[in-house]
């Protein structure tokens, strides 16, 4: 729900952080780094318990402790977890810190899981080299200003500028172009992909508004159409219209069922006139799920190999 950006069952404490820790079981997540890895893993695992989380009377509270690189603070946290009856999940690069966490949890009789040790050991023996044992923020380690780093930042800046059909003359510079009617998730999807290093432009399809000529001039293999179930779209648009405080008149046009259906039909026509564009159904998908589909197709089209994959080199 959280690190994966959007799966979205968690109710985060933005704006009001004073989570009552009273009801529900607790999970303590501890990292010597940012904590985003352990949070991501715990969130994915919690997906297996969706059926009994907050809506079903079995709420879970997670607590993330980041930058824990000394044993004193680690022990404080374990002690507090014991008090609260919490379990502890950790990523600690220094083997002696990981051992301390394990031992202390055992001593206090609380369950614990090491999310970094097993995968690190397994990679170490595969590569035939030893892990450094250094946390990411350790003194002496240096964050490299690689080409890759600059490329990612450029991708984000490009994508922001291209949001919502802006600067259509730049479409040819994009790696990926998304087209769809309002509220199909073009903006958050663009941003999600940009974070992964892709330059994305998104183009809204609005009934009665001409699409930019450049959309049909760029390589059609990089254009993706988004579509959505009309009933779901109406729900989303109603929420949107309320947030923006649209007047009753504009609102009904924007989120009225006939209009929604007609506009989706219009989009479908555009898509069918451009048969190379894949059309992705976003209904019922979290942003990161749609992103996975887009990137699978994107890499597949470039590699044309038997088993679609995304390959990287470290």
């Amino acid at each position: 729900a959280k690190a994966a950006v959007f799966s979205g069952t968690a109710s985060e404490s933005v704006g009001n952080d004073d989570v009552e820790v009273a009801a529900g079981k607790s999970i303590y997540m501890v990292s010597d780094g940012t904590g985003w890895t352990v949070e991501h893993s715990v969130t994915a695992a919690l997906g297996q318990f969706d059926y009994c989380l907050v809506d079903r009377g079995c709420p879970v509270n997670t607590h993330l402790f980041s930058g824990i690189d000394d044993v004193e603070r680690l022990m404080e946290i374990v002690k507090q977890a014991a008090k609260e009856g919490a379990m502890v999940v950790y990523t600690l690069a220094d083997p002696s810190m990981a051992a301390s966490a394990k031992q202390a949890c055992k001593l206090w009789g609380i369950p614990s899981t090491d999310m970094l040790g097993p995968i690190t050991d397994s990679i170490a023996s595969h590569l035939g080299v030893s892990p450094s044992g250094l946390p990411r923020g350790a003194p002496g380690r240096n964050f490299p200003l690689s080409d890759d780093y600059f490329k990612r930042i450029e991708a984000i800046e490009f994508t922001i500028k291209q949001d919502d059909g802006a600067l259509p003359q730049n479409l040819r510079k994009a790696d990926i172009v998304l087209a769809g009617v309002s509220r199909t998730g073009k903006t958050p999807l663009s941003i999600y992909l940009a974070q992964k290093g892709y330059k994305v432009a998104n183009v809204p399809i609005v009934m009665g508004v001409e699409l930019p000529r450049t959309l049909f001039e760029v390589d059609p293999e990089k254009v993706f159409g988004l579509t959505i179930n009309p009933v779901v779209l109406q729900t989303i648009r109603r929420a949107r219209a309320k947030t923006l405080g649209f007047s009753e008149e504009v609102r009904s046009n924007y989120s009225e069922m006939d209009y929604v259906r007609e506009e989706l039909e219009f989009a479908r026509t555009v898509f069918s006139q451009n048969p190379v564009w894949p059309v992705i159904e976003v209904t019922g998908k979290a942003i990161e799920e749609t992103a996975a589909v887009v990137l699978r197709l994107y890499h597949d089209r470039r590699n044309r190999c038997l088993m679609p994959r995304i390959s990287k080199r470290y």
Copy 2:
């Protein structure tokens, strides 16, 4: 390097995907979902081998296979991994799929690691309930359009609109306001935080340009200053000036050492006049590392509890 958005040692295959799989060891990552969880975990673990990756003659190739929810494709992938001498790391929610992966890897004599099973089992016994065993895309499962989901999308849309000092009249609506000179990473940091559900505005500090009045009118507890080592900043600005094709004259002003130092000095003065704003050193930090520092302080200030933490409810 990758799922964590920026740690940035991986050279991704955007634009040219035809990674030569010849040199280096391979890691196959397999998920019935998006694959972002296993990718994130493997990337974090690879940080332990930074010292011997591509620059040091021990390159690693990762291959991500997402949406693998039938045993036939799973077996194909394991077979291919065996051919390539790759190890396999997987997140498979269906216990019989996970068992098949484990068994097949054993049969083919290749190392494998289950990234989902252990944490799921451990949470199951902590909560005293059973995991559903259903992958995130399984039929019958439905992605909830929760308040949280809409809030995240709103945060992204807000943050995009507020980039680079735009619409200063909206600063009071932001959860977090970032201030710093050009190329301190305000934009990617804002976007990273927005993905996590925070409405972020960023305000550039430029020598000789007056800052918006609203910056000093909003709650100073939500404003964060960014600072950076002048030599590193100059390197980043030079790269930037080249990308943007600045003329020689503008470039020297923007990235000349005297100017860089003076502008950082100017920012420091602004910060010292606003002593409530924490000043965060971004030198040597990946975007997600700076994000962790910002959010630690942000939640700490709201909770004022002994052990800084970020708490959520599922």
